[in-house]
Symmetry: C2
Subunit: 110 residues, 2 copies
DNA sequence: TGCATTCATTGTAATATTGCAATTAAACAA
DNA sequence: TTGTTTAATTGCAATATTACAATGAATGCA
């Protein structure tokens, strides 16, 4: 179907999956890494830096923005993008809970 | 294209994306959570627990196994699955580095 | 106004993902 | 051996994702 049956999962499970999917493409990983590195930059810089076509970068930026992980502000004919620290922290907390499940985990079985 | 241009990204970026994609579906999140909860269980238990058809669960298990996050051992007609603690820890370390980029990050711009 | 720059949007092609029915394979039990 | 149970595999339909050319929208500049 190509369509996940989200209705049979908990909100938490769906939220984890949605965030994880955002990091499920190397271009979005690269965008975030570059934004952390330079603090803020313009869409065109990301196009040069990453090497995908401008519409493709724009599409990836749209997804990250939709999830609230980045924000953009218009500056003349450019748009300046940067990480949304507050939402990044919230996302981190959710993912950390998921990843740290192994803390109280006994040991492998098979 | 539906095909990511992995060759233009670093190994690290691709590795992060591949792991993240594994968590990008709520069924795989649910499978891992259940395995952590009960320590180990059989495929059929996951089918009952999660509520997707057996072939679908089997397919998700295959992906998690391919990434090394879980392992399975045949026990009669059943297959017992559990988390691979060692690889889980390795994955966590990689993802932690990615998520903790914000540690030395100044502040938002726009 | 007219033109250039920058980015978003639209449309489209190629590929990937998800889900399941049907089937197969393997192990066990009688 | 025959039947049962369990899980993997196959095949397929529906949808999602990725990438980009072409275009559009907005701003700034001459």
């Amino acid at each position: 179907m190509g369509l996940a049956k989200t209705e049979i999962f908990s909100d938490e499970q769906n939220e984890i999956a949605v965030f994880a999917k955002a990091f499920g493409h190397p271009a979005r990983v690269a965008i975030l890494q570059h934004l952390f590195k330079v603090n803020a930059c313009v869409c065109g810089d990301l196009v040069d830096e990453i090497g995908l076509a401008q519409p493709t970068i724009s599409q990836h930026l749209k997804e990250l923005k939709y999830l609230g992980l980045i924000k953009g502000s218009v500056e003349g004919t450019s748009v300046c993008y940067c990480v949304d620290s507050e939402n990044w922290a919230k996302m981190k907390a959710i993912m950390k809970t998921f990843f740290d499940q192994d803390i109280s985990f006994q040991e492998d079985c098979c």
